[in-house]
């Protein structure tokens, strides 16, 4: 599972709309960083097992097909785009519901996702999907230790150390940014998959491109609409989202919060004590 997100790491002054929602037009759309760590772990799984395929599932507008192509350039075999107006306005609950519906249809052996997306930072979708599918979950995964028939061993990154756990399969694994970085795009794969299109993109493609893609199955990104995944409409999109944003406030740091210190040891010592006492440090 992966998500296309606005690049909130490079935020400018137009990042938010006056209504308090993210101004997607002002921010580049990128592959959610921890989903790239997850992709790498999935590709490592494939490297180890050999006879396996890696597919990306993403929910989003048509242009989210970009991250499926990106994943194919880096080693994924293909992908599924879950797209449609019915999904608009989904919070984590509605998102995980929609994804779970699609996953029931795809029926994978292992589901790997990033820990959280940089636009919402909730880290809820992965675990919610696991609950909905009644699967075991391993969160904060940092390293794939081993995988064998019906069982996976994962090293988890915790606040004060690491932990190695064994989980039965199928399972949902959410991956931390401390895991191995994703491998780069591969030259031959880029040349092979650069024309890959999702179903709705294909319908809009110009004649020659359309014919070219239609002749080649591997260039076809499968697109699911809401009806394709048999959901309960009440649980989709805005209707299925109990989260309501009450208000968004701009936080402006003011000069009165600043403190002037001398370079003397006792001043620095005092500040350290204060920060430790307030649990800002340590």
């Amino acid at each position: 599972m992966a998500k296309q997100v606005p690049d909130t790491r490079n935020v400018g002054k137009d990042a938010m709309t006056p209504e308090g929602t993210v101004n997607r037009a002002a921010l580049a759309a990128i592959f959610n960083p921890e989903d790239l760590n997850a992709l790498e772990m999935a590709l490592q799984l494939k490297d180890r097992v050999g006879n396996a395929t890696v597919h990306i599932l993403t929910m989003g507008p048509q242009r989210a097909a970009d991250i499926i192509r990106e994943a194919m350039f880096r080693g994924a075999d293909g992908g599924y785009l879950l797209s449609g107006r019915e999904f608009a306005g989904s919070d984590t609950l509605a998102t995980s519901y929609a994804l779970a519906c699609a996953l029931r249809k795809i029926n994978p052996d292992i589901i790997v996702a990033g820990r959280q997306a940089i636009d919402g930072d909730t880290a809820q979708v992965g675990p919610q999907v696991a609950e909905k599918l009644d699967l075991p979950q391993v969160t904060y995964a940092e390293e794939l230790v081993d995988v064998k028939e019906g069982e996976i061993t994962i090293k988890r990154r915790l606040e004060r150390g690491t932990e190695v756990v064994v989980s039965p399969l199928p399972a949902v694994i959410t991956v931390n940014s401390s895991a191995k970085e994703c491998r780069p795009r591969n030259a031959k794969r880029v040349m092979k998959y650069k024309y890959a299109l999702a179903t709705s993109e294909l319908a809009e493609a110009e004649h020659n491109r359309k014919a070219f893609v239609e002749e080649r199955d591997y260039l076809h990104i499968i697109e699911f609409s809401a009806t394709d995944v048999n959901p309960d409409p009440e649980q989709l999109g805005l209707a299925g989202s109990p989260t309501k944003v009450k208000k968004i406030e701009n936080v402006v740091f003011q000069a009165k919060e600043a403190k002037t210190l001398t370079a003397e040891d006792k001043d620095i010592e005092a500040l350290m004590q204060e920060l430790i006492a307030s649990h800002t440090l340590g």
Binding site: R183, P184, N186, A187, K188, V190, M191, K194
Partner: protein, 569 residues
């Protein structure tokens, strides 16, 4: 997210050159591969798009992996462990990333798992890798040894070794020995035929071998017992998997410290012959060297780019007397000259690479079918230009890399002399570039023939036929004047050389440089016509600089008597 391709408009410009279309047509031969390989292009536009995408990957790996590793590699360096080279950890990581990106065998045909890209694109990749880490570029750039294998070896040898290069195995060319540096005809490493095993056996020593412990090595060796000159030398391939070569030591060098320069001991090492016996130096090393020289031109251009950028960044950030030092005329003039030299290196480099591409590709085609008369003429035409331009490109780019790196430190002031900034590493790395793969002095020896034979003059006349915009017209007229100066001094030198042998030798570097300045200026003029905003200023700066240099050299020649030759003996 640093990307050394996307952040470099000048590099991108060269991919859009009109000659690329012809190069692609020759490289793809009616796009026949598209039926067999899912990554082969359908047409010219598709091919160009693929090149751009692949170069973007190179730019990403360079910016995100190789450049951040460069300092660590410079400090750590490679070591000898159990008679073999162990790379610095950053080097290992660089190789891993490039191999994950599938960038081995960039120019090799698809049937050997290559990417079938033009030499021009490979040079671009090399330039970016060198900008990230010049020493590492040596290791990676040596994949061009595979081009020589592809051109001259049997199908059996190609099928064995080339896919391994595509998979990312590294190469080496084992040419020099303690008593055979610039004079390769003196190579003594002995090759004897082992009848029982059916292989050649190599015995002896090689020295100054870059990446000497590479997976696949091209070795220049003496197969003809009793001979002492170039005619007894052949080219062989040694496969590291077979064993028989020990690394005695790694040289401790001034720069490019990540690149292991090895002394090798061959002890009955098995090897296979490439092409014909006795043609080792005469034919195959010449081919290897031409490719390697273009590689150094690319490496040098990458280094200039890095040194210029370091200096620019520092000059913008460093404040003195209440303003950034870039605001001082003396500093900004240096920076503008550095920029112009970098753009000039690149212009000459890719002009040369395009010539090489066309003639090399026609050569490959001629192995499969006989060429039409027109194609034969085209091949001859570009072959001559490639031969003439390669030493020029190597010489100018490597000398400029040194000048730009020198000025980069100067702009950093005292800080630049400390180990804290990258400019000191770049300065050390640059120093080898006008030495190895033929010193500048040897490039002059190769280039002077083209002064005499008229290769440069003919090409300059062709450039003069180009129509210019209002913006560059005056410069074009200036270049015509300078061409006349060139003709005059060439005539003077040639006629006086008839009186006093050695007079032409004495002035050869000056003559070659004059030709080079005019040629580079013409290429830049064309760029300024096409993209005025980007190129007009640096072109003006370069033409001014070229005018000064030509005037100075011409004046020296015209003032010089034949007796001057004795002065310097």
């Amino acid at each position: 997210m640093a990307n050394f391709y996307l952040d470099n408009k000048d590099l991108q410009y060269h991919l859009s050159h009109p000659l690329m279309k012809r190069i692609i047509e020759l490289k793809e031969r009616n796009f026949a591969d598209a039926k067999e390989y899912d990554y082969a292009p359908q047409d010219v536009e598709d091919a160009l798009d693929s090149y751009r995408r692949v170069l973007e990957i190179v730019g990403d790996v360079c910016g995100e992996v190789i450049a951040p590793n460069a300092e660590g590699v410079d400090h750590e360096g490679p070591r000898v462990v159990n008679d073999h080279v162990e790379y610095a950890s950053g080097t290992v990581r660089n190789i891993e990333a490039l191999n994950e990106a599938g960038l081995g065998g960039m120019t090799l045909p698809r049937k050997y798992d290559g990417l079938n890209m033009p030499v021009t694109c490979f040079a671009m990749a090399n330039e970016m890798v060198a900008r990230a880490d010049a020493g590492f570029e040596n290791i990676w750039g040596l994949q061009d040894c595979a081009e020589t294998i592809n051109e001259f070896a049997t199908e059996e040898i190609k099928a064995k070794f080339l896919p391994r290069v595509s998979a990312g195995e590294t190469c080496a060319m084992d040419l020099t020995e303690p008593d055979a540096g610039s004079d390769l005809g003196a190579v003594m490493l002995k090759a004897t035929w082992d009848e029982t095993a059916g292989v050649w056996r190599l015995n002896g020593c090689k020295r100054f071998i870059t990446n000497g412990d590479g997976d696949i090595s091209l070795v220049l060796a003496r197969t003809e017992e009793g001979t002492k000159d170039a005619r007894g030398l052949s080219m062989l391939i040694y496969d590291k998997r077979d064993g028989g070569v020990k690394v005695r030591r790694i040289e401790n060098k001034l720069g490019i410290k990540g690149s292991p320069t090895c002394e090798l001991v061959f002890n009955n090492a098995p090897a296979v012959l490439v092409g014909d016996r006795k043609m080792g130096l005469i034919k195959y090393v010449m081919s290897l060297m031409n490719a390697a020289r273009l590689g150094i031109a690319a490496q040098s251009t990458g280094l200039s780019e890095a040194a210029y950028r370091e200096a620019l960044k520092y000059a913008q950030e460093r404040e003195q007397f209440g303003k950034p030092i870039i605001k001082f005329a003396a500093v900004s003039e240096m920076l503008k000259n550095m920029e112009a030299k970098t753009i000039a290196s690149r212009a000459l480099l890719y002009e040369t690479a395009r010539f090489v591409d066309i003639y090399k590709q026609l050569t490959h085609i001629s192995h499969d079918r006989s060429l039409e008369a027109e194609e034969r003429a085209e091949m001859k035409f570009y072959n001559r230009l490639a031969d003439g331009f390669t030493p020029l490109a190597k010489m100018f780019a490597s000398e400029y890399a040194n000048e730009v790196a020198y000025d980069s430190i100067q702009i950093h002031g005292g800080s630049g002399y400390m180990k804290d900034y990258a400019c000191e590493r770049l300065y050390r790395d640059a120093r080898i570039m006008n030495i190895y793969e033929g010193t500048t002095q040897l490039q002059v020896v190769a280039a002077i023939n083209h002064v005499t034979k008229g290769t440069y003059l003919e090409q300059i006349m062709r450039y003069e036929e180009v129509e210019h915009s209002e913006a560059t017209k005056a410069m074009a007229e200036k270049l015509v004047e300078l061409r006349k100066v060139y003709e005059q001094v060439v005539e003077r030198v040639e006629s006086l050389d008839k009186e006093t042998a050695g007079y032409k030798d004495f002035h050869s570097r000056r003559l070659v440089e004059i030709a080079g300045y005019i040629i580079i200026s013409h290429i830049l003029l064309r760029q300024a016509d096409e993209m005025t905003e980007e190129y007009l200023n640096p072109t003006k700066i370069f033409v001014k600089y070229a005018t000064k240099k030509i005037t100075e050299a011409a004046s020296y020649i015209n003032e010089s008597e034949t007796s001057d030759v004795e002065l310097f003996r």
